[in-house]
């Protein structure tokens, strides 16, 4: 018996072709029949049948129904690049205030990413109780603090690397190494999109540049390239979205029509070839995108009160200009969500200009001054985005995920006024579809150094996001290089307490 078992090969085989494969005499039709009847075809070792999205090569972004009941229809990730300190934003530690200036007990000899540690250091920003929940949030982010009753905090996040590149890889792809598909690519692969004129997955880089790990954060990895994140923001449009000005509009249309005739003539010689049909369809989708994307990226129709809500209407200083530029990205994110784009990944912070701590959250040396820029840039626009999503009813079907690659140390680095990297404990939060409101899950120790209560791994975090989308992280797999790969590798448990 030589069963040549089906797999998802390089091209997007549809179910029809996949079944055709089985019947080639490579294995007997009878066997396939038996396996199919027993539900064993494609069983995986977790004992669960893999979810294999039925992808029409001609319509890769067609919406696909998740196998389980979904709470969220789409996802908006807000990624603070550079490792945003939980201790200066959302994780309140009275003990840190009390022991300010003392060494961290039991960790006097600790060596972290950049070296030795100095004393425990309280946050330069006051924490205050907020809203009905009384959640303690710092004054660094007052607008977000005001929304504490809508947020679902996970204070016990734990990573496994203390370098930015692997850390961003881990948060965005579930692997510390380069080359794996991003969360958004997995979701676009599984679910397609609600809109057929826009990419299924859009990454919005910070106005200051790309994050530390650049396109790895929205890469397709070994998934088909159709599911990669398309990156553009309010300032930089999709590359090659439109021809250079030299091509006249009517000529453009005529060329497109002529091309379609060429391609149809060619496809007619290979009847039934899905790849050729897909190519024709891809030009039609591209033409729709060419019309739709400038529309969605054009913020000129946004009224003054919306611009004000996000802080997109103020400028004149470095902070305000940067904030306004990020705010425009936030508005773009809302417009994409509104259109039904399945996965939007919005970045706050960039490595491109200035490096360490200057244009991102990597506050090693001068936390007070650097975060005094980053806090305001993040705060009002992000809060505006949440408010706007909520008032439009979009928060009911959109899962908002706020994350960063890891946390920072409760101590200041020896001889400096900033915090070193700390993957042992940090905070992320969720909001919107399917998650509890004004809720906090898990905790770090008294100083905020290590997650100690209800520890949530990045894999758990991913499993939870997939779960909310109606996807079982153990069933969403793709064969690559000898392995049936998962976003969550061989780990991950859904964090049930955060579910509404």
């Amino acid at each position: 018996m030589n069963p040549n078992l089906p797999r998802l090969p390089g091209n997007l085989l549809d179910r029809r072709r996949f079944l055709g494969d089985i019947g080639t005499g490579l294995s007997s039709i009878a066997l396939a029949h038996i396996l199919g009847r027993q539900g064993l075809l494609g069983a995986n070792v977790s004992g669960k049948e893999p979810f294999r999205p039925d992808i029409d090569p001609g319509r890769p972004y067609a919406p696909r129904t998740p196998p389980l009941a979904a709470k969220a229809r789409n996802v908006l990730v807000i990624f603070c690049s550079g490792a945003c300190s939980h201790l200066d934003t959302f994780d309140y530690k009275p003990e840190l205030v009390r022991r300010h200036g003392q060494p961290m007990p039991g960790q006097e000899k600790l060596v972290t990413f950049q070296g030795e540690q100095g004393a425990l250091a309280r946050s330069p920003w006051e924490f205050k109780p907020r809203g009905q929940s009384g959640k303690m949030v710092s004054d660094l982010v007052p607008h977000l603090a005001a929304l504490a009753d809508d947020l679902c905090f996970i204070h016990s996040m734990q990573g496994k690397t203390n370098t930015h590149g692997p850390g961003e890889n881990f948060m965005s792809t579930g692997q510390t190494l380069d080359g794996f598909p991003s969360l958004g690519a997995w979701v676009a692969y599984a679910l397609g999109s609600e809109d057929q004129s826009l990419p299924a997955y859009v990454a919005i880089p910070d106005p200051r540049g790309k994050p530390q790990n650049s396109v790895n954060n929205w890469a397709p990895g070994f998934l088909p390239a159709a599911f990669q994140g398309t990156d553009f923001n309010a300032r930089n449009p999709i590359r090659n979205l439109a021809p250079p000005g030299s091509v006249a509009g009517d000529r453009d249309a005529a060329t497109r029509a002529f091309l379609q005739r060429l391609n149809e003539g060619h496809a007619a010689r290979f009847p039934g070839d899905g790849d050729l049909a897909a190519r024709i369809a891809s030009y039609q989708l591209a033409a729709r995108m060419q019309l739709a994307v400038p529309g969605v990226a054009d913020l000129s129709s946004e009224p003054a009160h919306i611009l004000r809500l996000y802080g997109a209407d103020e400028g004149g200083s470095h902070i305000l200009d940067t904030r306004a530029a990020y705010a425009r990205n936030c508005i773009l994110a809302r417009r994409l969500v509104e259109k039904g784009v399945r996965f939007v990944q919005l970045f706050n912070g960039a490595y491109q200009t200035g490096g360490e701590g200057v244009s991102n959250w990597d506050g090693h040396k001068d936390l007070l001054n650097q975060y005094s820029v980053h806090g305001p840039v993040l705060d009002k626009p992000t809060a505006g985005l949440l408010i706007d999503l909520k008032q439009r009813g979009l928060l009911d079907e959109t899962l908002v995920v706020w994350c960063t690659e890891f946390g920072r140390m409760p101590t200041f680095q020896k001889g400096s006024k900033g915090r070193d990297h700390n993957p042992a404990g940090f905070t992320c939060w969720l909001a919107g579809a399917g998650v509890r409101k004004g809720f906090s899950h898990g905790a770090t120790d008294d100083f905020g150094y290590k997650a100690v209560q209800d520890v949530v791994s990045v894999h758990d975090f991913h499993a939870t996001i997939l779960h909310l989308l109606g996807l079982d992280h153990e069933r969403l797999t793709y064969y690559h290089n000898g392995l049936e790969r998962r976003l969550t590798d061989v780990h991950g448990e859904v964090v049930r307490p955060v579910l509404a």
């Binding site: 797999r7 070792v45 370098t163 999709i238 998962r486």
Partner: protein, 835 residues
Amino acid sequence: MKRGTSLLDVLTACHVARRVAAAAVVGLAAMTALGGEAPAPHWAFQPVRRPDVPAASAGIPPIDAFVRARLDAARIAPSPEAPRSVLIRRMYLVMLGVPPTPEEVAAFVGDAAPDAYERLVERVLEDRRLGERWARHWLDVVRFAESNGFETNRERLTAWRYRDYVIAAFNQDKPFDEFVREQVAGDVLNAPVATGFLVGGPVDIVKSPDPALTAQQRADELDDMVATTGTAFLGLTLGCARCHAHKFDPITQSEYHGMAALLSGVQHGERDLPPTPDRAAHLAATDARIRGLEATLARYVAKETEAPAASPANARPPVDFARNEETFAPVAARYVRFTILASSGGEPCLDELEAWAGERNVALASNGSRATASGTLAGHAIHQLAHVNDGKTGNEHSWISNEPGRGWIQVEFPRTETIQRIVWGRDRGGAFKDRLATRYKIEVATETNRWQRVAGSAERAPFPGASHVPTTPTYELAGVPEAEAGEARRAIEDLGLARKERARIAAADKAYTGTFTQPGETRRFHRGDPLQPRESVAPATLSLFQPLALDPKAPEQERRMALARWLASATNPLTARVIVNRVWQHHFGTGLVDTPNDLGRNGARPTHPELLDWLASELVAEGWSLKKLHRRILLSATWRQSSAPQPAAQRIDAASRLLWRFPPRRLEAEAIRDGVLAISGNLDPTPGGPGFYLHDVDRENVYHYHPKERFGPAESRRMVYAFKVRMEQDAIFGSFDCPDGSLVTPRRSMSTTPLQALNLFNSRFILDQAGLFAARIEREAGPGPSDRVRRAWALAYQRPPTEPELRDGEAFASAHGTAALCRAILNSSEILFIP
């Protein structure tokens, strides 16, 4: 493991393995059906035994005999031979990665000789573009790229040598076993560049004092090497045994670590390459010339060394970085010369040279004085000869010599002056503590060549730091008759040039091929965690086949040689099967085993197991020649079949795995770009050397790569020569599933996306190429509109247009121009497909 003891649980939860589990289930079903026999040993771990060619098909090529046997069993008829115009296009695209020219097509289509096809095959096998095409496939398998990846993603400027090595290996038909051995131990086998394989993968260069991070980084580096060695050569997912015994193949965690111990002396980095014979000869000749010139000039070697005073007690203070003053009895001078004989390191620097006559600094340019120098370090606006007497001091207004440890400055006054004091410094700003003249002398003259020493370092206490004294002599021509001095000066100049030439030749070529150091003990890491080392593991190959164990202290090189020999052994059951399968895959789109990096139990079974083994045994018997394998495949009727669909066959075998036709498929990113350039007549065939850039690079701590918007002739070479950056893609062709070398890619995805359409339809690159294509047509075609359409079709598709295409093309081109026609053609499906 969370559940009980069902079959599925026994297989356990490593990387969820549908295939494996399903295979096991099928195995179980089969076993049950057959009455519970033990499962057979895994086919790929058995020695390759040459199967008999099916007898029923005597007289036809063996490949066809094996393929026909399967087709007959499935009751499918093979397809007829494809037309010649299709065959030549297919052959060029598959073998060379570029389309043939219309002239090559015409010659082949019109060739009446009975061996026309065979001669085409021979010609193509000797075409050097073959190496460029097939190297790209191998580079995918070995995750080759030219940047480090991770967040810094810095360039590896000498990694291209490995890419050129692979191209040359395929063109020279280097026996594959040799190719394997060289990539593991090329430093021993006179192929030093080949070990670029070992360190081809990404590496995190962000280091930290944190020992846990450092251990993890090293473990990841080594795992990349071990896992890639496993998949590339053996088609085995060795990496699965890093944390626990392999779930499907007989590989224990200790065996993984034994393999790791074989490679644990390999570090990322560049290595000096030994000089080539040419270079050695050039070096010897240049040395002889230098010795000759030195002999000629021996009589002019300066006697004076200006060594510091032997008894520092009554000496002047040592030289100072900021400011030094020399006083002497008043002397008549038209010229003053400051000769540097040693520096505190590097090329010496003077910020100002002052010569005082009473209260006047007569050296100032504003006084009419003129400065000359032995030479000035090029490329720095703040370091200029004119700065030495401009009255401004400090590093920002200084002169730097162009030679380490020496140089001279001479100032000529407009008239003879009586001077008594010289003041000089390196940086009177006090910031720079380098490049100080530590040995020097100051001379004056009323006419050149009559120099009189007035001061120098010999009267000073020794400089407290290190001094860089040039190893070559300084020549002194004072007092030499002018004619002779002229000769000598020319000889000095020649000597300088010869030394530079020597330095250029002698600077070893470097290549990113790894460095090798004797490794320490290898320990098994519990659960793959480098912070949980367990028992010691000796370097050893897998027990799967003729295991080889080395002494735990075996020398580094010996380890890799042992691994190399074991991998490339003729009796290794995997190596030949794996490469035969890869070659087959790149001919037909899918391998005989469609999991090319996994021939283990978790992999797919071959569609034609006997054919695979027959080809593998043939490969070894024929000296591991890949060109012979290509020839066999190309001459088969199976390869020459039409790709036209056949509904009856498609109903049974939609994916054409049984090869009732040649399966048509889309080209990869590189071949699409190369093809566009070839069609527009703009492809630069220059082979080899450093890659061209598709990006502009910001070289900060973290490197950023911005896609170029405009392309010129420099970017018109084949894409295999593009500098291969991890994480970033070519802005146009990257969307055609082009891998970035972060992971191995045994088989590329072939997706179709709207971004591909946007990139081809709207990018400036394609519009530019459409313009060049149009100009080419207008140049090469006859004057009529139909001539142009015919020429366009011949160049792009290697066929004449159909009647409707001709009419449509003519009408479209006359309404919108030839460039618009060409833009549509460069976007059309037909140019992207292997027919």
